[in-house]
Amino acid sequence: MAVDISTGLVAIASGLAIGLSAIAAAIAEKDIGVAAVGAMAEKEELFGKGLVLTVIPETIVIFGLVVAILILNLAKGG
């Protein structure tokens, strides 16, 4: 399956959009997750709040995904 270079670049761009945002979310969630598990060890009722705080940065990936899809779409349209 041969593709021209511009298609390849578009694919790389959308890949970077989601990959980098996923790394960013992972770094953020790592720190929060550590703290949340620590807090939970002390007080088990904090599970709900801990979960919520841990998953807050996930939105970053969703933004990355939306941007990735937009890039793919732009390439298709233009």
Partner: protein, 609 residues
Amino acid sequence: MLKPYDMSSIIITGPKAIQEAIIRELHELKVLHIVEHSKNELADIGKPLGSAANLSEALVKVRALIAALGIKKEEAEFEPKKGLPDIMPAAKKLGENLNTALDELKKCQELISKNEATKQELKILKDINIPLEYFTAYRSLAYFTGYVKDASALNEEISKLTKNFMLLNSGAKKRSFIVLFAEAKIRDKVQGLLQKNSFSHVNFSNISNLNGTASANLQRIEDENARHSRKIVDSNKKIEALKNEHKEFLLASEMFLSRQLEKAEAPLKFASTQSSFLVKGWVPAEDLNKTIERLNKAGKNKVFVHFEPAKAHDNVPIKLKNPRFAKPFEFFMDLYSMPTYREIDPTFFVFLTFPIFFGIMLGDVGYGIASFAIFWLLKRKIKADKFFNVLMLASFVSMLFGLLFGEFFGYEFTHPIISREHEMFRLLYVVLAIGAVHVNIGLVIGFINTLKMHGFMAAVYEKASWIVLEIGVAILALSYFKKISVSPLAGAAFLAASILMLLKAEGIRGLMELPTIFTNILSYARLMAIGLSSVVLAVIINDSAKEFFHQGGVYILIGVLILVVGHIINLMLGLLGSFLHSLRLHYVEFFSKFFHGGAKRYQPFGAKE
């Protein structure tokens, strides 16, 4: 629904003489949530009943036995009998038996681990055929034990130096172990030679008291260890037998004692004077009459009960009230936080939307059926009914969405109404619309909550402002894209109004939070994203299996294997993702619009956990 049970605050007081009878009655009624009294200048806290000391001693003993025998609650079926006789003597006797077995076990384990260290040293010396008593301190003789690279080269070099030496070695391939005896006066020279042959010293500290050759000793120790091991097995058997024989007794005793102790220690939560007691608490309004009647009877009309409805700032314990079908979803409130008495209980809304979100993300007939079966089986094994009922309902909704998406284990079995795989954008708009509706429902609930607690204007400034903001941005966007013929100025006016309202309600922080409403709605894109990743994985699994099926023969087996393993993994990922993300959409995007929470759960005195 939407509101917890009405609660009445209640104060019960009476003379000490009837205290025990009242406690017994309350324990049986299981309706009073006791508010603990803290000591003040008017009244101290009460003293436990006389039986408390003995009860807690027996309970500690029984719990220690349960822990030592490793008994788990689920292992035994037992009936908590009333008035178990002679718990203490029986527990004592059992404790003695257990301790003998445990001591024996520990002794044997210690002996074995001590022998292990000696065994390691003996293994090295196994092929050196000299008695172990040779390894002692000499006046005129020096000896070295350790590893060298090449024993024969060493032998040659030392024979050039002296004739009075003895070199024993056990040949390993790369390094050989040597024992070298030489005259003490040439110790330094020998050491130099050894160094040249990259000698590494081995120290023997555990064999100094042993006689005879290493291999004989090794045999003896092996025998000893075997004997100890047999003893360990015997002790374990004994402990296991004790466990099986007594576990019902122990668990029943534990339950009986802890319930008795609960009663005996109840006065610690009461206010008490020399001759009277007073207990404050909360009772569901519907149980109030029954409670008063029963207490009067038990207290022979010497008890005084005062009650009144909850006041505005009371910290009321919460007993959630929901129709039977929505009840399992109270699990999510347990997990997060109890709503306060005056705010709306969101359980019903979670019941409406959680399965839908879960369904959109899992959205596959095959996965729906499989997960329904898994949860149905797990429900029978594990006692967490609420949780599994939620998941079973969610799995069922997944099947329905599977029909909508036309998917069966990733395979499009029919022309779908909306295809997750090919119509990403259509689905994206649909889920964003769902998100907008969900977030706005949250804002409306928040409006009602604020209205009840802080009045109309506060509700408008804090909650309605967000809706005005959304309208403003929507008008701006639509007029920009020329979808409607309204001047963008109208949108700008809405926007400005909402910003002023938020500034009034929340201050500068409100301005900083302006974009959150849109990020919250955008966050619902995950409904599409999680689903998409699940479908794509399933399609990849199916395609790679198909390749093998085409090749025929043995390859068909590999294809089947790929299908089974792949779909199991994808299902697990899908379940985890769908559950957590659906949960998150409720806790973060939805609850943040209205929920305060932090109330205590209603825990009536005498009810089991």
